[in-house]
Amino acid sequence: MIEFTSWDIVRNLLLAARWTVLLSLAAFIGGGIVGLIVLFFRIAKNKWSRRIASGYIALFQGTPLLMQLFLMFFGLPMLGLRIEPWTAAALGLTFFASAYLAEIWRSGVAALPLGQWDAGASLGLHYLQELRLIILPQAFSITRAPTVGFLVQLIKSTALTSIIGFEELVRTSNAINNATFEPFKVYGLVALIFFIMCFPLTQYARRLEKQAAAR
């Protein structure tokens, strides 16, 4: 019979939490890069480019993340890639994050007075320079709170990758549970670890929000 001590449980959960952190970071960075591209399309002058981008965003915001992960997981072989939980999880969460981040940043762009664009144009800047130097820095700055808030969502969303077989915190807790039969303790610990990761970020987002409101 296989036995676990309490320390074994905690240690294995913490080791698994590394994957949760790594996946969150990968998806946040990847999602930021793809989200930026989507943002360019979303605020472009071309009508069709805007439509495609808003369709992309509506698609990811209108379907469950779990389904997106399943499609990614079972669709990988069709794209000639090996079926792999890590790839499916990282790609799935990246696309998911890109849609939400693009929409958050778009709201930042939309919040800027049109005069900002005019000012840029009057300085002789062309479109990309305007975006890079004037519009995007301001859009990012006013959407810092929702961006951090979304990072919290993303960290919590990594739990779903356990269902497609990625060995993160929740999946490890399931395996431990089956050897120890103490769901109350094991899931309680998992919740605590997530809380420790997310709570400081939530508080930080709140502070940013208050600062923004005060300005």
Partner: protein
């Protein structure tokens, strides 16, 4: 891709979709009610209640829904609380959604000018009447769009409750793919069903909100 299995599966998909709709309908009603009570308690309740509500909000907002669901379904029985999968799902969804909507409702209550309460009190209305008849309808109107988004988000998150054997849409999809070995096609079709559901839900809420709360709701 092959879809020969689809005609025979439509009944199962429809049945799953109906359960998903039932889940979100119950959650919306219970969650909104709970968040109104929670938001009111957080503003005017005794200090201990305020702290308890704040703790509840933080715990729910900073832990994954899946873990909350497992905790309620697999963990609570060791305290003697045993719920049917569908009840456990409804409870988990309601508790999760309320943690977000308490803050939304609270913001709405804050946005109603204080002068209105004073005026209504001066007219001789009791505080409870003022809250229910004057402040709350205006607050709901202000926060209605945010509330709508939260309901749609919760509907999409409900896919997870398939993990505790609730026979909703994702559960039916899992069953189908186990039978047909057509994983990608099955989830592809079901994803489209979810997309249609979330669009329909949004439209329904917007038009329903317009009727109930008057013009100006978007």
């Amino acid at each position: 891709m092959a879809f020969a299995w689809l005609p025979g599966a439509l009944g199962d998909i429809a049945h799953g979709a109906a359960t998903t709709i039932l889940l979100i309908a119950v959650t919306t009603l219970a969650g909104t009610l709970l968040s109104i009570l929670g938001a009111a308690g957080r503003r005017n309740g005794p200090a201990l209640l305020k702290r308890a509500i704040a703790c509840y909000v933080e715990v729910m907002r900073n832990t994954p829904f899946l873990v909350q669901l497992f905790f309620i379904f697999f963990g609570l029985p060791s305290l003697g609380i045993r719920l049917d999968p569908i009840l456990a799902a409804m409870l988990a969804m309601t508790l999760n959604m309320a943690a977000y909507t308490i803050e939304i409702v609270g913001a709405g209550l804050d946005a109603v000018p204080g002068g209105q309460t004073e005026a209504a009190l001066a007219l001789g209305l009791r505080p409870r009447q003022v809250f229910v008849k004057i402040v709350l309808p205006q607050a709901l109107k202000i926060i209605y769009p945010a509330l709508t988004s939260q309901v749609v988000i919760m509907m999409l998150e409900s896919a997870v409750v398939s993990q505790i054997a609730v026979r909703e849409l994702t559960y039916e999809a899992d069953m189908l793919q186990a039978r047909t070995f057509r994983s990608f096609e099955t989830y592809f079709v079901v994803t489209l069903v979810y997309l249609a559901l979330s669009m329909a839900l949004r439209r329904l809420l917007v038009s329903g909100g317009r009727r109930a709360l008057g013009a100006g709701v978007s």
